[in-house]
Structure formats: structure tokens, C-alpha cells
């Protein structure tokens, strides 16, 4: 069984969000970078669990990004990936990222391609579906559980107000979210091993994008909180009813 896990580099969840160059670029000075939490905690850890259950499984990691993405991909190797592929181009839209990973995925003949449900910077949640279309594979999004029996996958996915369980034959693309696995921390042995694991760099094949960010901005600041005394809870509900008109 061969699994490909897509790894994206995102600013740390506590990063201060600001923009430069006339609000066209994310201000990355002093920002800590992490593996996108959905990619790490759910997609990658589930792949590692599948490998633990079947030692013949190999886990490849793919990332689209410059050399600055290497510490991130090394950390993913330390967690338990077997080898990594970096596609050497700056990511600029979901279509471009999916197209690049699709090229790598076609050559690798993977049984299972896992992504996070979205990245926490652009929140598009599109790469998995786009990749599935490029690869002509079925796609299950927002999966909370993934079980394999031979070449059949049983996947739970979130739907409005509930969950749906589906059965589908491999090969398959799945985007992963909470429920899939419990987050892990890399251990010393993993970190040492990661240093010698292969990290292949390939050049981009074409570089087409369909969208571009014209401008970033910050939401308007809140006016400030209106405090109500705990002895006067009726007043709070009255305000919500008559002033805010939300009850």
C-alpha cells in the first residue's frame, strides 16, 4: 500500500496577521511556521497508524514550496513519513498546488492520497477535490474516520447536522479533519531518522494559476463590550431582544 500525504506550511496559530506591500503580501517577519494542523494531526497521523497496522505500507509526503518549506517537511518525516518530495515553486493558488501535486501523484501510483480538510491560512479546502479530479479518483471530503479492508475504504464524513458513512474502492483521495486520529509529538528517534530520509526536490511542470489575491485586509475592530451586571441577567436578554434583535 502506498500513501501520499500532502503537507502545507502555514503560520503558527498564534501568529499576528498583518500585511505589507500595499496589503498584497502576508507580513511574515518573525512568524513561526508549522505544518498545517489538519495535515499533521489528522492526515499524516492516520497514515502512520495505517502503516503501524500494515508494515508493508509506505508513506510519501508532498509539498509545494521553496527551500523554506524544508524544515516543515523534515518535521513531517520525523513524525513518521518515509520519504518526501518538494515541488520547487511558490504556492499561489489551489489549482496550481493541486496541479503540481497531481504530477507527482501520477508517477507514484498511490492507493490513497490524504490531505487536511483545509489550510488555516487560505481556508480554501480545495486542493483535495482538485487533486481527485486531476487524478480521476473518487473524493471524500471532511472525513472524520477512515478504515481499510483490502482495497475497500470505509470513510465517515461530516455533513450538516450529522455524519455519513460511505464505502468506496481505492485509489481514493480523502481530506481529513478532527476525529481521524489523535495528534502525536515527534520523538528523538524520529527526529534523528528524519535527517537521513530522502527528500527529493522536483521542478514545477508548468505553473498555471486561475486566481490571484488582489488585496488583503483586516476586519473592522469591534466597538467594545457592553457589560451587564450578573445581578441583572434580564437586562442582557432584553438588550439581545430589543437592541441587537438576535433573540
Amino acid at each position: 500500500m502506498k500513501i501520499l500525504v500532502c503537507i502545507s506550511k502555514t503560520p503558527d496559530t498564534t501568529a499576528k496577521i498583518a500585511f505589507t506591500d500595499n496589503n498584497t503580501k502576508f507580513a511574515d517577519a518573525g512568524v513561526q511556521w508549522i505544518i498545517n494542523p489538519y495535515d499533521e494531526w489528522y492526515a499524516l497521523v492516520r497514515a502512520i497508524e495505517l502503516k503501524e497496522a500494515d508494515a508493508s505500507t509506505s508513506i510519501h509526503l508532498a509539498t509545494v514550496g521553496g527551500a523554506d518549506a524544508e524544515p516543515i517537511i523534515r518535521k513531517a518525516l520525523a513524525l513518521g513519513g518515509d520519504e518526501a518530495i518538494r515541488i520547487n515553486v511558490d504556492p499561489s493558488d489551489s489549482y496550481q498546488v493541486a496541479a503540481q501535486i497531481a504530477e507527482v501523484a501520477k508517477q507514484g501510483n498511490y492507493d490513497l492520497v490524504l490531505t487536511g480538510k483545509e489550510t488555516i491560512d487560505f481556508n480554501n479546502g480545495s486542493v483535495g477535490g482538485m487533486l481527485a479530479e486531476f487524478l480521476d479518483m473518487p473524493y471524500v471530503a471532511q472525513a472524520t474516520s477512515l478504515q481499510l479492508a483490502g482495497t475497500t475504504a470505509t470513510v465517515k464524513r461530516e455533513i450538516e447536522g450529522g455524519e455519513e458513512t460511505v464505502e468506496v474502492a481505492l485509489p481514493l483521495v480523502v481530506s481529513c479533519q478532527k476525529g481521524m486520529a489523535e495528534a502525536r509529538i515527534p520523538n528523538m528517534r524520529g527526529i534523528m531518522a528524519a535527517r537521513t530520509k530522502p527528500l527529493k526536490v522536483v521542478e514545477a511542470s508548468g505553473n498555471e494559476t486561475l486566481t490571484n489575491v488582489a488585496e488583503f485586509g483586516l476586519p473592522p475592530a469591534k466597538a467594545g463590550v457592553k457589560l451587564v451586571s450578573p445581578d441583572n441577567v434580564d437586562e442582557l436578554i432584553r438588550l439581545l431582544h430589543e437592541e441587537a434583535r438576535v433573540i
Partner: protein
């Protein structure tokens, strides 16, 4: 510029999120000088002509048992045929569970740029620029779509449904439909009665509640408001509440009209998933809790005293209105 809106449904009924998408698509068509049509796949019991109320002129319906399963591959090919036949230049989805499956695939299939998670009508004065939230709601981006056909998936609760009047013409659409590869074997409804992402009101509680046994008062408050329940991440991690209630940057992102946060500190990762709520109410015994900075209304007090009083007050207001 003709617009095609994808209509999603559950138990035979059009989802509220699709009415938002229909209103959005109709206003876009009006603005861009075109017609708004819709496509609905599978079996619906609801009368599709009612979509006319939201500004949809024509609904293309494909009744085919194969479409009762939402298989993204099958759906994508059918919608592709509808785009070709109607000559639509913009396709609108809701950014809900179905939209997230299908819109990205359609984007590749049609080589049409996609903005996922749009929050406003496009600005067409200089190209075609759509606003969306980024950095989990901590910022927004104006994204320009550079292709002839454009796809927008609209965030749930981001656009007001506007009903005017009118009836849509419902026409059968003859499409080639593949056999689904995805087989649905079970569907379960979450414990809550209201879907979290679609709810107008969300009542949420955090570690300040001390344990799962104290959720009854939160549930009662939610019930009295017809609200969905949510929780902070440590609450879900400790299995006090199911993981599908975890809201925030790494949980579910929501944008209700009213978000009531009880015993939640308001850490940056929590705020990131809830800061698009229109009105935020915070109950916390710590006056320094960061959540008060993001709140519209607040009570500095003990949840165990305040929440039962809130329930009584809500009942009074409901009884008198």
C-alpha cells in the same frame, strides 16, 4: 453574465444554505445583466418552482436514482453538462459539505477559477473580484478570478436570503449520469437538533464548566433559544462533548447571528473560528478573559449562577413576544 446556482437538499428539502446561494446568484445575475438559473440533482419533494421567490428564473432538474448519492465525480460531470448547455459564466455553490466536495472538482474540469468561502457579491468594476475570509476569519482577501467561467462557493450564513416573489420554471434536464463509485452505508444525525454550521444562534461552553455533567443547563439554554451547541477544543479533547461540536481554528468555523460563549477564555485559536458571528455574548468569571475584547455583550460572573438566570429571562421574553 448568466449564473447557474447549485441547489443542495436534505430529506427532500432545499437546504437553507442553497437559498442563500440562490439569493446571491440572483443578485449577481441582476448586477451583471444576465439570468439566474439553478440545477437540482436527485429526488426532491419540495416544489422547485419556489426558488422563483429568491430570483431564480429557471430550474434544471435531473431526476435519477444514481444522483441520490452525493458522489463528487458523478455530480461534477452532470453540472459540467448544465454549464455547457445554459452557457453560464458563473457557477454558485454553498460552501457546505456538498459544495466542498463538488466545487473544486468542477473548477479543474472546467478550468474555471474558484473562490471557496466567498462572503460578499463580486466587485466587477475592475475584473471579477470576490471577497473571502482568510487566516480563519482573522483577515479577508479580495481574490480575482482570471478565467472565462468562474466558480464561487458562498460561506454558510454569509449572505442574507431575500425573498421577493415569483415562480421559477422547472424543466427536466437530460444529462448523462455515471454510476456512483461511492456507496452510502449509513447516515447519523448529531445529538443536537440544529445543525451547527447553519444555526442562527449557537450556545457554546468551555472548560469553565468543569465537567460533562454540567452541560444540562447549557443544553436547556440552547433549547430555549432554538440554538445549536458548540464547545471549545479542550472540552472535545477530554471527550466531554462530541468532536463535531468543537469550534475554532482547528474545529468547525461558524458565523451565526448570535454566539453565546460560557466559561471559554477566548484564546486566539478559538476566536478564529467564531469571530464572524454577528453578535457575541460572553459569560466568564474572569474579567481579564481575552474573550471580552471580542464580545459585544458580556457578564463577568459565575456561569453556574448566570446561565440558569439566562434561561429564565429567555423564557420570559419568549412568552411575552
Amino acid at each position: 453574465m448568466n449564473v447557474l446556482v447549485f441547489i443542495d437538499h436534505v430529506d427532500g428539502h432545499i437546504k437553507k444554505a442553497s437559498l442563500e446561494a440562490a439569493s446571491y446568484g440572483a443578485q449577481l445575475a441582476q448586477k451583471a445583466g444576465g439570468t439566474a438559473e439553478a440545477i437540482a440533482l436527485g429526488n426532491l419533494t419540495e416544489d422547485l418552482a419556489t426558488l422563483g421567490k429568491y430570483g431564480i428564473q429557471k430550474v434544471h432538474q435531473v431526476k435519477n436514482d444514481a444522483l441520490n448519492t452525493i458522489d463528487a465525480q458523478v455530480y461534477t460531470k452532470v453540472i459540467e453538462q448544465a454549464v455547457q448547455q445554459t452557457g453560464a459564466k458563473v457557477v454558485v455553490f454553498s460552501n457546505n459539505s456538498t459544495g466542498k466536495l463538488v466545487a473544486p472538482r468542477l473548477s479543474v474540469r472546467l478550468k474555471a477559477g474558484l473562490v471557496a468561502g466567498a462572503v460578499a457579491l463580486p466587485d466587477t468594476t475592475n475584473g471579477f473580484v470576490v471577497r473571502k475570509n482568510v487566516f480563519s476569519g482573522k483577515a479577508f482577501a479580495n481574490v480575482s478570478i482570471n478565467t472565462d467561467i468562474k466558480i464561487i462557493s458562498l460561506n454558510v450564513n454569509a449572505f442574507t436570503i431575500s425573498a421577493t416573489g415569483g415562480t421559477a420554471e422547472v424543466v427536466p434536464f437530460n444529462a448523462t449520469v455515471d454510476a456512483p463509485k461511492v456507496k452510502v452505508i449509513d447516515t447519523t444525525k448529531a445529538s443536537g437538533k440544529v445543525s451547527l454550521t447553519e444555526a442562527d444562534i449557537v450556545v457554546s461552553a468551555g472548560r469553565g464548566l468543569k465537567g460533562p455533567e454540567n452541560w444540562k443547563m447549557v443544553e436547556d439554554l440552547a433549547d430555549s433559544l432554538g440554538a445549536a451547541l458548540a464547545c471549545s477544543r479542550p472540552v472535545a479533547d477530554a471527550h466531554w462533548r462530541p468532536h463535531n461540536e468543537h469550534v475554532g481554528q482547528t474545529g468547525v468555523a461558524i458565523a451565526p447571528n448570535l454566539y453565546i460563549a460560557i466559561g471559554i477564555s477566548g484564546a486566539i485559536q478559538h476566536l478564529a473560528g467564531v469571530n464572524r458571528s454577528k453578535v457575541i455574548v460572553v459569560v466568564n468569571k474572569d474579567p481579564e478573559a481575552p474573550f471580552f475584547k471580542a464580545a459585544d455583550y458580556g457578564i463577568v460572573g459565575d456561569a453556574f449562577e448566570v446561565v440558569p438566570k439566562m434561561l429564565e429571562a429567555v423564557k420570559k421574553v419568549k412568552a411575552s413576544s
